[in-house]
């Protein structure tokens, strides 16, 4: 087999695999969809406000409920010390009075 044929088959195979993965994701992810629905129902029932992603600090557990100073609660120049604090940045949209 020519090397170019082998390469083109390899590329075509990968491209087909990628398209199949993207296509199957739209239709065949039953477990993930069931999880989404179960979470949505619970959020509505208990009136929850945040996803349970980072449980180490209260301002990363409920970032949408946190105030801007939560991460620096010890004193104004305190350094943020929780690793997830570098992922969960403070909310930008606030209607607090200055």
């Amino acid at each position: 087999m020519r090397k170019s044929t082998a390469f083109l088959l390899f590329t075509l195979g990968n491209a087909i695999l990628l398209v199949l993965l993207l296509w199957s994701g739209r239709y065949a992810s039953g477990e993930a969809r069931a999880m989404r629905e179960a979470s949505r129902v619970l959020v509505q029932k208990l009136q929850l406000t945040d996803l349970c992603l980072f449980t180490e600090a209260r301002y990363t557990r409920h970032p949408s409920m946190a105030d801007l100073h939560s991460a620096f609660q010890d004193h104004p120049l305190a350094l943020e010390h929780f690793p997830s604090g570098s992922l969960a940045t403070p909310p930008r949209f606030r209607r607090e009075r200055p």
Partner: protein, 376 residues
């Protein structure tokens, strides 16, 4: 048409042979290239899917949450606010929420404790993450240390479904009386108020009215809750920008390595090809195919591996970074959702610059005299 295709295939054959002659170097380059594409694609897929998940799940979150602020910090809301806020036109329901955090010294995990109306005193519903961390099942007793110092035991009525872990992994639901007794919560106060508003278009107006009527309050709209997650997983958010920056710099190094010049061996090869009759266009086509073979193969393999990692293995490679020092981490599966626009950007960010960077030095080498190229 056939002649042109055949020409490209011949040059592709030659490009592949040329790459295989320097097998060790090119295979290691392809592996590193694939890893960088994998890293970028995995971050992009993961953050996009999480943003979508947050948007879908948090649709049912309260329309407005009203907090009370004292000196820039949260404070308990007097339940007396309920009647006044309920009287604002457009507000259909106001529900005081009673919740807080509890640090479990035994496991080192933080839990969210919340009051629920349908629980009898002395019982608790716990999230699946709590059950996993404490190894407590339905019917067992969960100990919680109260503010006065004594430990209270609550019988676990049920473990919240595994499927809802993304929302409830660290939750412990108790009756209102139990929660007040545990934290010595003063009567007549709640943590915050959850509002239901009939018309979504009126939410901002109602929030402004609340802020005007209660200057110590902070209303948070449902749309702001959703935008919080958009901003956390935005490409500018925290670690994302660091990781993406590292990956992009890796590409700059790849491209720089290619663009700054060819090895003596490659120059010699171009000189020989020119001297046996290859035209400059043929040499450039050869270099184009060499670059395209490496970058296209790396792009496809990197993207496929990233998809499998994020959606089949629940992004387990990112878990240590997301977990931080937390003991309790939810187990969840993301619904696959890939934005074609992001895929196209990824393609143009990874394949095109590398291929172009391969051609430029070859063009400079191919335009000099073959004799000089071979001697250099």
């Amino acid at each position: 048409m056939n002649r042109s295709v055949e020409r490209h295939r011949n040059i592709l054959d030659f490009a592949l042979s040329s790459l295989l002659r320097r097998k060790g170097k090119n295979v290691s380059l392809w592996v590193m290239y694939t890893l960088v594409v994998f890293l970028i694609a995995a971050i992009v897929f993961y953050t996009h899917a999480l943003k979508r998940e947050a948007a879908m799940i948090l649709q049912g979150a309260p329309d407005i949450v009203v907090q009370k602020m004292v000196a820039g910090r949260h404070d308990l809301v007097p339940v007396g606010y309920v009647e006044k806020i309920a009287a604002i036109r457009g507000v259909t329901a106001v529900r005081p929420r009673l919740w807080g955090y509890y640090y479990d010294a035994v496991t080192g995990a933080n839990y969210t404790l919340m009051a629920s109306d349908d629980l009898p005193p002395g019982t608790a519903d716990i999230g699946n993450g709590v059950a996993r961390t404490t190894r407590i099942a339905e019917g067992d007793f969960i100990p919680i240390r109260a503010v006065p110092g004594a430990t209270t035991l609550f019988q676990v009525r049920k473990v919240l479904p595994y499927a809802s872990e993304l929302a409830s992994s660290d939750l412990i639901l108790l009756s209102e009386g139990d929660l007040r007794a545990l934290f010595d919560f003063p009567r007549g106060f709640a943590t915050d108020l959850a509002l239901t508003v009939g018309n979504p278009a009126e939410r901002a107006t109602i929030a402004a009215k609340i802020a005007a009527q209660f200057p110590d309050s902070r209303p948070i709209l449902n749309s702001e809750i959703l935008r919080t997650y958009d901003s956390i997983f935005d490409w500018r958010g925290g670690m994302m920008v660091v990781m993406l920056g590292v990956a992009v710099f890796s590409f700059v190094i790849f491209a720089w390595d290619k663009a700054t010049g060819l090895s003596a061996e490659e120059r010699k090869e171009i000189g020989i090809l020119k001297s046996v009759g290859w035209e400059t266009g043929d040499v450039l086509l050869l270099k184009f195919w060499e670059g395209a073979v490496v970058s296209l193969a790396a792009f496809l393999c990197g993207v496929i591996l990233a998809y499998v990692q994020v959606f089949f293995f629940s992004a387990s490679l990112f878990e240590p970074a997301l977990k931080g020092w937390a003991v309790l981490y939810p187990r969840f599966k993301l619904v696959p959702d890939v934005d074609p626009y992001q895929l196209a950007v990824l393609f143009f960010l990874t394949v095109v610059p590398y291929t172009v960077a391969t051609i430029i030095p070859s063009w400079r080498a191919a335009t000099v005299d073959p004799d000089a190229a071979m001697r250099s």
